[in-house]
Each structure stands twice: as structure tokens, then as C-alpha cells.
């Protein structure tokens, strides 16, 4: 019986596999971190993804939505999703308890953060708000193989101090000398002693040589234009700048077409693109 079900699943790109939420942690007033593993152990063991890829998550009876993976791809026991309570599916996910079952399809996306190309180069990561989530996967991977990379710098902008995600990780990084982290908030509270303002303001301080640096940007759509302007001033090369794009996705497999920008499908060709690929693609940025 089990065998047959598997065979059937292979035939449809729309059939999710059943997974279970093993742990839920509230990480900010609006975000929760979910540890998820497939019920089928073999499926979980064979689940391989690359940093920057995403999955389609089904809350049965409610719907499906895309979420990016936040954990180290080398973590075989489970994967992490960090989800903001923003829509129907994410709202339902937030109401779920540990042990609940969900459906997962994926991983999807040809475009991922190019961790292979980045080896032996400096890496600058720029995140705005929830954009920190997909970058976590890359950061954790790089930290595991830290000696393969040169300088690593993270610029992270959040709306206010309480919306800062992954505080424990950021705290841990700040005690290390092989990673520099700049966190900036738009609306500080009384206790905030760090940077204030949008994260683009921090880019001029970066002094990585452009020819030896890869840049990854992930954040809300409005952020990209301004970040790119700052990066261009620093002469970073468009082919070395990578951006993760957000679009509406219903299928994740290039069929529903909601995410297409000209000849690119964000779900299939992306979600990560080099700036070179999309700088002249109308409507992309």
C-alpha cells in the first residue's frame, strides 16, 4: 500500500507530503519559528535543499502558501520555517500546536544563494525585516564551513527592536570575530543603543573590495531599488549581487503563472536572481 501511494505521488506535482511540526517558538510579536519534519523518515532523510529555496506548505482545509527555508541545509532531522502571521495560511499555521500535521511540497527554485561561487570571497548579506529568514539558511551554512569564506558581514534592518528575529544567533555572532553584524532599526525604543534608520544607510561603511565580494540582498520589494543604488556606488558588480524576489505563488512549479516577470518565473527560475539577470527585466525591481 505504502509503495503504491508513493508511486501515485510521483505522478502529480500538486500532491504534498505529510509533515509534522515538532516545535514552535514565538520569536517576535508577529513571527513564529517552526521545526518541521516529514512523517516518512525516508522522505525526511532524502530531503535536500539549497539555501534560498522555498517550499509550498499546505494547511489542510485552508490552503497552500510558499515559505522559505531558514535552517542549515545540512540539518537532516528537521527543517525550520520562520513565518509571519500575515495571511490565511500563515494565520492558520500560527494557530497550530506542536505535533500538528501539514503538507509540504518542494523544495522549489533553481535560483539559490550561490554558496559555491562565494567560496574564497568576501560575503556581504543585507536583510530587511523578514528577509533575514532565507538568509539564515545561508549564514548557518557558511558558519559551518567558515574557513572556506573570507570576510562575512551582515547588515540587518528591522522596523523596531521587538521585530528583530534570531536574537540568539545575532547575540552569538556578536561574540565572534569572524562575522560582523550591523543591526539597525527604524523606530527605536528607549533601551535601543544600536543603529537607527534604514539599513541602506549602513552600506557606505562597507569596505570590501568589489571584485572580491558577493552580495546577497533579501527584504521587502520596496527595499531593493535603494539598496542597489548604494551597492552601485560601491562598485559591486551586478553579476555578484544576488537578490531573492517575492511574488505571489500558487503552485511553485511554474504553472499558475502568478509569479512571472517577463520571461522569468520567480518560482522556477528564482526565487534568487543575480542583479545581472534582472536589471533590465521590466517590473522585476
Amino acid at each position: 500500500m505504502v509503495l503504491k501511494a508513493k508511486e501515485e505521488n510521483k505522478n502529480s506535482i500538486y500532491v504534498p507530503d505529510i509533515a509534522r511540526i515538532s516545535r514552535i517558538e514565538k520569536v517576535s510579536p508577529t513571527e513564529k519559528l517552526f521545526n518541521v519534519a516529514f512523517e516518512d523518515e525516508e522522505k525526511q532523510n532524502n530531503f535536500k535543499f539549497l539555501p534560498g529555496q522555498f517550499i509550498e506548505l499546505t494547511v489542510f482545509g485552508l490552503g497552500e502558501a510558499p515559505f522559505c527555508l531558514a535552517s542549515n541545509p545540512n540539518n537532516k532531522e528537521f527543517f525550520e520555517l520562520c513565518v509571519r502571521n500575515a495571511g490565511n495560511v500563515s494565520g492558520a499555521l500560527h494557530r497550530m500546536e506542536e505535533g500538528s500535521r501539514i503538507g509540504i511540497r518542494g523544495p522549489f527554485g533553481r535560483g539559490y544563494f550561490p554558496f559555491e561561487k562565494m567560496r574564497n570571497h568576501n560575503v556581504l548579506l543585507i536583510a530587511g525585516g523578514l528577509g533575514m529568514v532565507p538568509l539564515m539558511s545561508l549564514i548557518k551554512y557558511i558558519m559551518q564551513y567558515r574557513e572556506d569564506y573570507k570576510e562575512l558581514m551582515i547588515i540587518y534592518g528591522a522596523v523596531n527592536p521587538s521585530s528583530i528575529l534570531f536574537r540568539n544567533d545575532i547575540g552569538y555572532w556578536s561574540n565572534r570575530d569572524d562575522i560582523s553584524t550591523c543591526v539597525s532599526v527604524d523606530n527605536p525604543d528607549d533601551k535601543w543603543t544600536g543603529e537607527i534608520g534604514v539599513c541602506t544607510k549602513l552600506i557606505p561603511r562597507v569596505n570590501f573590495p568589489p571584485e572580491d565580494t558577493y552580495v546577497v540582498v533579501c527584504g521587502p520589494p520596496v527595499m531593493y531599488k535603494y539598496v542597489i543604488m548604494e551597492l552601485e556606488k560601491k562598485n559591486f558588480k551586478p553579476e555578484n549581487i544576488y537578490l531573492s524576489l517575492e511574488r505571489r505563488m500558487e503552485c511553485g512549479v511554474g504553472k499558475c503563472n502568478h509569479c512571472h516577470i517577463g520571461n522569468k518565473l520567480v518560482c522556477v527560475d528564482g526565487p534568487v536572481f543575480s542583479l545581472w539577470e534582472i536589471m533590465n527585466l521590466k517590473e522585476a525591481i
Partner: protein
């Protein structure tokens, strides 16, 4: 391709044999000017002399307006299974531009990932093509879609007292051998067919200048004035998408049965012209106004797939022109782009 000729007096027997041996879907007159492709039980219902169909026949049979993709049961455990239905059917009398529209969908639904729900129906669809008379809004010759080179099992062309047959597949040939009396096409038949094609092409009156559109569009893209004018009357209703033989956008929704134990994932046609199309959770809309959306539709039809598949995804059938309540006319707009750019 096999070329055969069938005498007209054996045509009736051929059709009757197909109707009695297959689920046979063909054009039936609905009112003065509109036909619809529906299952036919008797040859008297068949009306191949049609001009218009509202919903493209191939799309109607292969990509349902609403379709179950996945069925699941929720209880102590959750079981999930795909819903892929498919049965052998004959689609009879479909014209060249609608076949070309289907050919586009074939390529689309098998690129990157294979969509079983579409392709399993497609594999079981026996396509018998036939020319129909173009409407005044049809510009398929400009789009290279007035003639079907592939995508059919056989294509019948009426030449006086006979039919000129192009047989495209082994399956088509088998059907011919089993149910039809045919002979090989002679040089004389080919000459008549050549004359027919020339005459047929003359029946298309609408011309669009699409040749330089690919590059011209880049210039016109940022011309806000132009797009404001073009999209001025658009109601964002999505009628153009519904009648388009190559529109394929869909939403997927989960739908629970009343017992709250069983549920389905259902895909429904969506429309790039309605405001919610580009909306993401959190409230950001990537195409907030109707100018964005119409521009996007033209880009998808006339440019995107030139890059991806080397062909337009518009076949020039003219259905959207006839259907648009605001009289937005893709043919006129293609020509306006040319006019705007040329010196």
C-alpha cells in the same frame, strides 16, 4: 505527415462510425452566430460551418475552469492522493488557431515540471482539425497561427467533392484505416490544396504589424501616457482571459467537504487582469493598477514566450476583442505600438 483524400460521399459514414465508437465532441450551433463544442450523439447536430466559439474548445476539454488536483482525508492520519482524470475523446472540427493555442499549452504544461492533470487528458484527446471561417477580428495569419503544422491526429480540408486529409499521427492513421475509405493524394489534389490555402488566407482581413514588437515594446513599456490611453476603459473584469485559447493562469484553493473529513485541492482559472492577481500576504500588490495589468497581458501574449518557446502565446483568434466590454482591441494596440515607435 500522410496525405490522403476522402470522397465526400464516404464522409458521412466516417463521422457516424466515429460518433458510435468514441466520445465525440464537435461544434454545435448555439444561436445565430455562436457555436459550442459539446458531446454529439447524432451527425445531424454537427455544424462544421461555424465562425465563432466563445470558449476555446481545446482548452475547455484539457484545462477545466475548475478542476480537482488532489484529494485528501483528514483524521488521525492524513492521506493524500492525486486526482488525475482522463478518458479517450475525439475533438472534431477544431480550427488551426485553436490547435496552435493547444500546442502552446502542451509546451507550457510540460516545461520544467509536467502537469499530469493537463497532459493525461491531452494524450487521450484525438484531435481532428478542420478550417473554420475567420471572423473580422481574427488576425491569426499575422501571428503565424492560421495554419496548423502539428498537434492534430488528422486535419480535414474540404475541396469541392472531396476532403484533403493530413494525417499527423499513427493513431490518426489507424482510425482512418479502420473507419474511412481513402486514397493517396495525387499531384492534382496537392495543386487544388495549394489553391485552397491561398484563397483561405485571403479571407483574413485584419493585419497586425507585430514584426518589431519584441524590441519596440521595451521602449513603449515606460510610456505611461500610452498605457493610460490603452487601458483607460478597462473594467479589470478578466473576460479576455476566460476566452483566450492560451491563457492558463490559475489559483489553487483548498475546499473541505461538509463532513470536514475529506477535502480537495482545486484549481480555478484566474485572470491577470483582476487586481488580486499580484497581491501577496501583507498587502503588497505587484500590479496595483489596470495599466500595469494590461501591459503585463500584452507582454505575456506577445513577448514572454517569444523568448521562452520561440513563439507568441497569442494566436490571433480575436475572441478577446469581441468579448471585451470596453472594446479594448489587442490588434489595434499592437499597431499603435508600431505607430508610436516608428518615425
Amino acid at each position: 505527415m500522410l496525405y490522403k483524400v476522402m470522397d465526400k460521399n464516404s464522409y458521412q459514414d466516417f463521422i457516424k462510425a466515429l460518433i458510435s465508437n468514441y466520445e465525440f465532441i464537435g461544434p454545435v450551433r448555439k444561436d445565430k452566430s455562436v457555436n459550442d463544442f459539446v458531446p454529439i450523439k447524432d451527425i445531424s447536430e454537427l455544424d462544421t460551418n461555424y465562425m465563432k466559439t466563445t470558449i476555446p474548445p481545446a482548452k475547455k476539454l484539457l484545462f477545466y475552469p475548475a478542476e480537482k488536483l488532489v484529494n485528501y482525508e483528514v483524521g488521525k492520519t492524513i492521506s493524500v492522493k492525486p486526482v488525475v482524470e482522463s478518458k479517450e475523446r475525439i475533438l472534431f472540427g477544431v480550427n488551426a488557431w485553436d490547435i496552435n493555442g493547444m500546442n502552446f499549452l502542451d509546451e507550457f504544461f510540460t516545461t520544467d515540471f509536467i502537469d499530469e492533470n493537463y497532459i493525461s487528458k491531452r494524450k487521450n484527446l484525438i484531435v481532428i482539425g478542420m478550417d473554420s471561417q475567420p471572423t473580422e477580428t481574427n488576425f491569426s495569419p499575422s501571428m503565424g497561427a492560421d495554419y496548423a503544422k502539428s498537434g492534430f491526429d488528422m486535419y480535414l480540408t474540404e475541396l469541392g467533392d472531396k476532403y484533403f486529409l493530413r494525417i499527423g499521427t499513427a493513431r490518426g492513421n489507424e482510425i482512418i484505416q479502420r473507419y474511412a475509405k481513402v486514397r493517396d493524394a495525387s499531384a492534382e489534389d496537392f495543386k487544388e490544396y495549394d489553391k485552397y490555402l491561398d484563397d483561405y488566407r485571403m479571407k483574413f482581413k485584419l493585419d497586425v504589424d507585430i514584426k518589431n514588437f519584441y524590441d519596440n515594446f521595451e521602449l513603449i513599456y515606460n510610456n505611461e501616457e500610452f498605457w493610460k490611453k490603452v487601458a483607460k476603459d478597462c473594467y479589470s473584469c478578466g473576460s479576455c482571459n476566460l476566452v483566450c485559447p492560451t491563457c492558463f493562469c490559475f489559483n489553487v484553493k483548498d475546499d473541505m467537504e461538509l463532513n470536514l473529513k475529506e477535502g480537495n485541492k482545486i484549481r480555478e482559472w484566474d485572470s491577470c487582469m483582476i487586481p488580486e492577481y499580484g497581491l501577496v500576504a501583507g498587502g503588497h500588490n505587484f500590479r496595483p493598477n489596470k495599466e500595469n495589468r494590461l501591459k503585463q497581458r500584452y507582454r505575456c501574449k506577445l513577448k514572454t514566450f517569444v523568448e521562452k518557446f520561440g513563439r507568441y502565446s497569442c494566436v490571433g483568434c480575436g475572441r478577446c476583442i469581441e468579448t471585451c466590454l470596453a472594446r479594448i482591441n489587442i490588434a489595434e494596440d499592437i499597431n499603435s505600438v508600431k505607430k508610436e515607435v516608428s518615425v
